[in-house]
């Protein structure tokens, strides 16, 4: 079992002929992902290791069922590429690029919502249903099948946690990188709700960080809706207060966003928070024993 993507998911790569696109196409194929087509304007008719390349997503969609797409597209052109994927009816869109203008991100999310598309990212490593389908840039070797769901705001830190889980013998069901930008497609709550329903997930690890109120909102949701054990790790305990967005930032956050506040909210929801990355597997083990 898995959420969002699985062994039947047909994946498109937008920007497949670029360096990153080609490199990660190969990595994903190696992982077992069903990469069925690529798009690079002007390169239609070519192929990358046998993966056919099209000029437009619509052209690819004429030849293949496309369930998901991943973007290897420079930030200034990412909005157009995202719109193209959504307009073509793609239901899971993974947006790797960082530095996408926030107004573009808002426009993408609004359009995705209208069209029922799940957006992962931007500024994410992607997502992986371990052993079945990897759509992203994470190193293959750490994502081995198991029953721990992982959802993270940050990328490399998530590999770190998954690496610790793997080392302790815990495989993962689905691992989702929410993305590090202010406006991203999925939030903790939506992923937690899916993982709660997923028969392949026994426990959930949340990797959060300071700033914003996503962890506090997740805590409130866990209290009411999640019965599976949830373990958290939060980065940023030692960080100095970040730059503020005028009064408006303070008004929106209303005191949320600090490390202590997040730990408190999560603990109150019954979620233990690991202080060091390597403690995560221990807390998972303890929670699963209960």
């Amino acid at each position: 079992m898995a959420i969002y993507i699985n062994e039947h998911t047909n994946v498109l790569i937008q920007g497949i002929t670029g360096n990153q696109g080609t490199f990660h196409a190969r990595q994903m194929v190696k992982y077992g992902t069903r990469i069925v087509a690529g798009v690079s304007p002007g390169k239609g008719g070519k192929d990358v290791d046998g993966i056919p390349v099209y000029d437009t997503v619509a052209a690819a969609a004429e030849e293949h069922r496309l369930d998901a797409s991943i973007l290897f597209i420079p930030a200034p052109f990412a909005k157009d590429a995202a719109f193209e994927a959504i307009a073509a009816g793609i239901k899971v869109l993974v947006m790797l690029p960082e530095h996408i203008p926030v107004h573009d991100a808002m426009a993408i999310m609004a359009y995705a919502k209208s069209n029922g598309t799940v957006v992962v990212g931007p500024n994410t490593f992607g997502l992986v249903s371990s052993g079945k389908c990897k759509i992203g840039i994470m190193p293959n070797q750490f994502f081995i099948p198991g029953d721990i769901g992982v959802v993270s705001r940050s990328g490399t830190l998530c590999y770190e946690i998954v690496g610790n889980l793997t080392a302790a013998g815990y495989g993962t069901s689905t691992v989702v990188g929410l993305g590090g930008d202010r406006v991203v497609g999925l939030n903790f709550i939506e992923v937690l709700a899916e993982m709660e329903k997923d028969a392949g997930t026994k426990a959930i690890v949340m990797v959060g960080e300071i700033g914003g109120s996503a962890e506090e909102e997740a805590a409130a949701f866990i209290k009411g809706h999640i019965k599976k054990p949830v373990i958290a790790y939060l980065a940023g305990k030692s960080a100095p207060p970040g730059k503020r967005m005028g009064h408006a930032g303070a008004i929106i956050e209303r005191g949320k966003g600090t490390f202590e506040g997040k730990v408190q909210a999560l603990n109150a929801a019954g979620v233990p928070v690991a202080e060091l990355p390597f403690q995560v597997p221990e807390l998972v083990a303890a929670a699963l024993k209960k």
Binding site: P101, H103, M106, P139, T156, L157, N187, A248, A250, I251
Partner: protein, 371 residues
Amino acid sequence: MKLFEYMGKELFARYGIPVPEGGVAATAAEAAEIAGKIGSVVVKSQILSGKRGKAGGIGFTEDPQEAAELASRMLGSELRGFTVDKVLVEQKLKIDREFYLALTVDGAARKPVILASAFGGMDIEDVPEEHMVRMHLDVTIGLQPFVAREVVRRLGVTGDVARQISAILSGLYKMFVELDAELVEINPLVISGDKVIAADAKVTIDDDALFRHKDLPVVEERTEAEKKAHELGLSYVELDGDIAVMANGAGITMATLDLIQYYGGKPANFLDAGGGAGVEPTAKALELLLSKNPKAILINIFGGITRCDDVANAFAYVKQNIGIPVPVVIRLVGTNEDKGREILRENGIEAYKFMHEAAAKAVEIATGGRN
């Protein structure tokens, strides 16, 4: 990118938002000249921070000569950590009421949000929620007249003042969208007689969208080292410790700092080398760390899009060509890990597998084993 108040007000004027009569001055003489034309004025230090009044950065006068003196006192002075290069000299407003009006991005809602209050002014952050109007906007339709009607209704204003606030809101939204702003904030929005006027301007432009706003003025907030890091595509913040840190990804960099603190050390900086940096930028980043003379360097790489061999090669390059006079602790796992470890080994370094081990080692070196 934060804009100075005077820049924000120039943009306000362009978008039809009324601002006080006035001008910006870089010298006392200029300040006197502007004041002479206006009469009763306020002289405001232009720095990228609020709370200037409490810090003495704002003065009032009706005398041009005194305006020059105020400007002369402010210009070149240090205020809340910034040097004052310019002052804004503008008409002193008769203030009947102070409102608050802002547009920003609400990340949780993934939408723009209007924040407004009939209780604007200095203590806006303490205004209770029931006096704060929040309205999210749907970007697919933008700011429609009905939204403005609802905002003024909740503010409790009617008639011509409501009409003026609606018009200001409309201009503010147009500006917010067209300039890729993350924040446009007016505090206070002043009711002065029968006019509504923006008495202050806080505007922040999305750094990631600056590529399509080449016509905007460039405001530099970064230190020299931060600027250099930015040019290399790195996210860098100076801190006051002695362990230089480089990691790849904001989250893991934060976690690395947390570990240093956990083991009793002090990080010298936050340096997120990002994903997928090649040999050359990584080498440059290392040089940047060296330039601050740390007691130790901790490199923490979990390779995804970043390739461990690239990092190792960068280390080798700097070591062989520039020299690395301080101890370096490296943690290296992920993409092309074996290659990377081999290269490091050839350069006399055994990389760690776990970040907490590497952090503990770096702290041990920096503190001379005192922890």
